[in-house]
Structure formats: C-alpha cells, structure tokens
C-alpha cells in the first residue's frame, strides 16, 4: 500500500460558508483550524464534529456533517468516515445527557456489571437507548482510563468513580 499524506481538499466558496452553522460555532472551529498547517484544515474535523454535536444537543445529523465538510473544504464522505469511526460521535438522536458506563476489565472486577444490570432493569434500557422520559441516553463504553477508582462512569464531561448502583441512581435522579 502506498502512503499518501495529502489533504482531500474540495474548496467551497466563502459566501456559502458564512451561512453555515452559526457564527459562534464557526469561530470556535476557526480557532481549531489555526492549530494546524494552512493546507490541513481537515485536521480540525474531529474538534469541529465535537463542537457541532454538543451544539446540536448530543448528536450529528447528515446535514450537520455535510456543513462541517463544506466548512472545512472536505468531501462529505471523508467527514462521514471520521464520524462513524470514533465512538464519541452519535449519529442518531440522543438525550442531552449521556450516561456512559465503563465495561472493561478493572471496572468489571469491581462491579460494573451490577451498574449495567441496574440501569437495564430499573430504567428498562439496553445500551444505546434513551430513557422513556427522554432525560438520558445509556451507553456502555470501553475503558475510560479511570481504572483505579473502578467502576467508572462518564456523565457529560465529568468522571464519577467508585460508584455503587445507589450512587449512580442519585446521579441520574439529579439530571436536569
């Protein structure tokens, strides 16, 4: 396999870009683009998708991915490839809150199964599903790198560690 290291640039006119997303998001993407060489705007695609996903309430629609592609001068398929590859992007509607329970080895040895079974039973959810009241989406995730205070849960941008089912319940009850 030959090695290719060239960006897949598909330039879009500036006036088209000015109508995309919103001004604040565009400015935030611009500050990400500035980290990389001028011809490598696509290096900002991961950060741009994260920004747009958060702005959209937790998930990415095809239209939003297309907007990111146009804004970064990328072919849409290159953006879809990235959005489908990385686990933190959600391509179906989710609740505002995501309860991500780690299921990897150190957490398994310290009770993550009980946490997962508890959420499944109490809220009737399988991983990937959103609670009936629409408050949170339940996800099982691979190692969060918080193994020393297992079991760990990522809720929004915060790690909660050493959780019991009761403690997890309290967190879920406290969600707005």
């Amino acid at each position: 396999m030959s090695f290719r290291s060239a960006p897949l640039t598909v330039p879009a006119p500036a006036e088209v870009k000015e109508s995309l997303l919103d001004a604040e998001i565009r400015a935030a993407i611009d500050s990400q683009v500035a980290k990389y060489p001028a011809e490598w705007k696509q290096s900002a695609v991961m950060a741009a998708l994260t920004l747009v996903q958060d702005w959209n309430g937790g998930w990415l629609s095809p239209d939003l991915m297309d907007a990111v592609a146009t804004y970064l001068d990328m072919p849409p398929v290159a953006v879809y490839e990235v959005a489908t590859f990385y686990n933190m992007y959600d391509l179906e509607p989710t609740a505002k809150h995501k309860v991500c329970v780690c299921n990897s080895i150190s957490c398994l040895l310290n009770g993550s199964e009980e946490l997962i079974a508890h959420v499944e039973k109490k809220y009737g959810l399988k991983p990937g599903q959103t609670s009936a009241d629409g408050r949170f989406t339940f996800k099982e995730v691979e190692c969060l790198g918080a193994c020393r205070h297992a079991p760990a849960v990522l809720l929004g941008q915060t790690y909660h560690e050493g959780l019991t089912p009761e403690a997890l319940d309290k967190l879920i009850e406290g969600l707005g």
Binding site: P37, S43, M74, A78, S104, A146
Partner: protein, 427 residues
C-alpha cells in the same frame, strides 16, 4: 519494603494545586528548559544523557527513548514534529491521566526539550476525548507557559521557537498506536500505517516526527536535572528509573505508584493493600490487558522490570497491573478482554477484524453454556492466525491474552464446555 517515591513524574503530587506553574516552579520546574535556552547545548549531549538513563518508552513497547530521538534527521530542512501520546486506553492503565491532572507543566517542559533535541518547532499532545478534566489542566498549563514566555516564537529572544497544541481524540483505542494517532491528527479514521517508512522519516503531514508517551516525555526534565546515571541507578541495568504502576482489580487500595523498576511484585501488591478481602492471589495481568496473564505463584517471585516480566512469559507493557483474586472466573475475564479488542479493532486487516469478533463470539457462547467440544482448539487456531499477521500490534494484543489464558487455565474453559457453567464461585 519499598515505598512510593514520587521523585519523577509525581514529584509535585504532595503540593497544594500541584498543576499550577507556581507549584511546578517550586520543585525546580522549567529550570532545565531555561538552561537549554541560555546555554544552547548540543542536542546530542542531551540525547546521550537520555541513552545513559536507560529510559524506555512508557507507553508499552519499552523502546529506548534516547535512541528514538537519535533517529530524527534533526538538521534536515523543513518542518518536524514532536507528538505526545496521551491517548491512554489500554484497560487497566490510568497513569497518564494523573500526570495530565497533577503535573501537566512537566509534560510541557519535556515536550519543549524534546522539540529542541529533534529539531521540532511544533508539538501536538493527543489527549483522548473522554479526558475532559485532564485536557483542561494541560491546556491551562500550556497557556501559562505561553504567558510566562517559556514557549512560543523566539522564546526570550533566543530565536528558538516552540508551539504546542492539544489534539482531542474522540473515542478510539487504536489511536494509541502511533501511526493511527498521526492519521487521526490528519483528520482521518485512526487506521495504522505500514512501517517502514517510520515516523522519524515520514510522520505527521509526511514530515519527520517523534511520538513519545506522556510518562516518557514527563520524565525527561528530571533526568536532565539529576543526570542519566542517577535515573539509571533508581532502577536496574537496562531498566532505568522509577516507573508509574497502575495497580487495579482485586486489591484493597488500587492506585498509581511511582516505584523503582526492579521492585518485587509482592512489595507492590503490599503497597496496594494486598489482595481484596484477604483472598489468595490467583493471577496477574502485569502490563495492561494485552499482556499475557501470569499465575499468582509465579508472579510472587517476579520483580517489576522489563526483563524479569519477559522471563516470566509476559510483558511490563504500560505498567498496568491487574490483580485477580482466587475465585475469579477466568473465562469471564477473557470474554471481557476479547470483547474489548473486537470493539476496538479498526477493521483494516482481515485477520484482526474477523478474528477478534470470532474470538469474542466463541468466548461469549462458552460463557453462556453453549460451548462446543472443538471450541478450545478453535480459539487456539483463530488467535494463532491473528498474531503476527496484521499491520499493527492490536492483533497480537488480542491474541496474546487468549493464548495465555488457555495455557494456564484450560481446565476452566473445559469445565464450561462440559458442564455449561463456571468451575469457580463467582468473584
């Protein structure tokens, strides 16, 4: 009896708000970088000091850091890069997160020194996306360093440039593989590249690049301050320095411990409070989930260094010590590990993409009482056909646990096949 040393990566840990510039300054932080700015030493002298220290890559491969830096065509024209791998995700490993949270400035200093030595004026730290708090700490440290005139363009009028940026991941274990990480910074799927060419020749954006683990880079300022010889003497020949060990699983006090390489495992286990609930030690996965499992009685006679663990049939890896107590269902543990690799295989190489899923499915049916007589042979065969047949090491990482669990605990798997349930009581 060994105690935690906290002399290198954790040297600020005892301070109030150890992540601030003031705290880092108070332990001599940035003195090495300022000395370099002042004296402009020959980068080869620094690289030789690192070689003397025997610092080996802390991400898992254990490749000597000084030697890696010496591969860079430092004087070649054009842009070169230093990249830090903070994509910590090997199950059991949680050390780099604490370096980012509690001593981020030492990593900034280490990256600046690396940039000077390899001729890179730009650095990227690739931090996994879930690490919001560690990323914020590191970004604050970078901002403080810019404001203090420690990094940037024409630093303190020396003509030396060093710009440092964070690239956030978005949930993919494979991006901890160095060439997948480079692909990811380039805005693509994180699929590993063939080597050669190696990153020192063709790396980020096709330019010469060195990629080091967080702990490796954060160790550099202290090695320069105290000398390569000092660092080497903290550990063993060929195994320089203290290292961070993440001890997790069935122990009373799981934690990260900075202790000398060569420390007896039994002392490390005692530091972590011993096996949980006073149970007997059954087995240890000594270097992160992809390293072969070692029976407890063997492990109790092993020292924690690259060579001794290799002799015991496993690897020191990232220093993630996963402790399994008596009563642990090894079939369940292996099924969990196999699930992880199946979920995280990037899908590029057929043996790994198909093989990891196959292993996971066979172990799943075994665990659920539907094992078949031929399954053990099948697991051996599938694992044997992944290892060594893929572009990157994830294939081997998926195969090694299977082979080692079957070697040491075959009877437990056999019992599941014959009786449809576990040989041991649930842990």
């Amino acid at each position: 009896m060994v105690d935690r040393q906290n002399t290198v990566c954790f040297r600020t840990l005892h301070l109030d708000q150890p992540w601030t510039l003031a705290a880092y300054r108070s332990v001599g932080g940035y003195a090495q970088w300022e000395k370099i700015l002042r004296e402009r030493p020959d980068p080869n002298d620094i690289i030789n000091e690192l070689k003397l220290s025997n610092l080996r890559g802390r991400g898992g491969a254990g490749f000597p850091t000084g030697l890696k830096w010496s591969f860079m065509p430092r004087s070649a024209p054009g842009q070169k890069y230093i990249v830090c791998n903070s994509d910590e995700g090997e199950p059991g490993t949680c050390k780099d997160r604490d370096i980012l949270r509690y001593n981020p400035h030492q990593l900034v200093e280490g990256m600046a020194i690396a940039g000077y030595c390899i001729g890179a004026t730009v650095g990227y730290n690739y931090i996994r996306g879930e690490f919001y708090e560690p990323m914020a700490r590191f970004e604050t440290a970078v901002r403080e360093a810019y404001e203090a005139g420690l990094i940037g363009r024409d630093i303190a009028g020396t003509g030396i440039d060093f710009d440092l940026y964070v690239h956030a991941g978005a949930g993919a274990y494979i991006c901890g593989e160095e060439t997948a990480l480079l692909e990811s910074i380039e805005g693509k799927k994180g699929q590993p590249r063939y080597k050669p060419p190696f990153p020192a020749q063709v790396g980020l954006y096709g330019r010469p690049t060195t990629i080091n683990n967080t702990e490796s880079l954060a160790s550099v300022p202290v090695i320069l301050e105290k000398g390569g010889q000092w660092f080497l003497e903290q550990g063993l020949p060929n195994n320089g320095g203290p290292k961070l060990f993440s001890v997790t699983g069935h122990v009373e006090k799981p934690d990260n411990f900075e202790i000398p390489l060569g420390t007896p495992f039994k002392d490390l286990l005692a530091l972590a409070g011993g096996v949980k609930g006073g149970r007997v030690l059954k087995a240890v996965i000594p270097g992160g989930s992809s390293t072969p499992v070692v029976p407890g009685e063997v492990m109790m006679g092993v020292t924690m260094d690259y060579d001794a663990i290799a002799k015991a049939g496993s690897m020191l890896g990232s220093g993630a010590v996963i402790v399994l107590a008596e009563g642990t269902d090894m079939v369940k543990v292996l099924a969990n590990l196999a699930h992880f690799y199946a979920a995280e295989s990037c899908g590029q190489c057929t043996p790994c993409r198909e093989g990891t899923g196959w292993l996971s499915r066979v172990l799943h049916r075994l665990l659920h009482g539907q094992g078949r007589t031929e399954d053990l042979e099948l697991l051996d065969s599938v694992a044997g056909h992944i290892g060594g047949r893929t572009i990157c090491a994830l294939g081997d990482a998926a195969a090694m646990p299977v082979q080692s669990f079957l070697k040491h605990y075959r009877h437990e798997f056999q019992h599941y096949i014959e009786h449809g349930r576990s040989l041991v009581e649930a842990a």
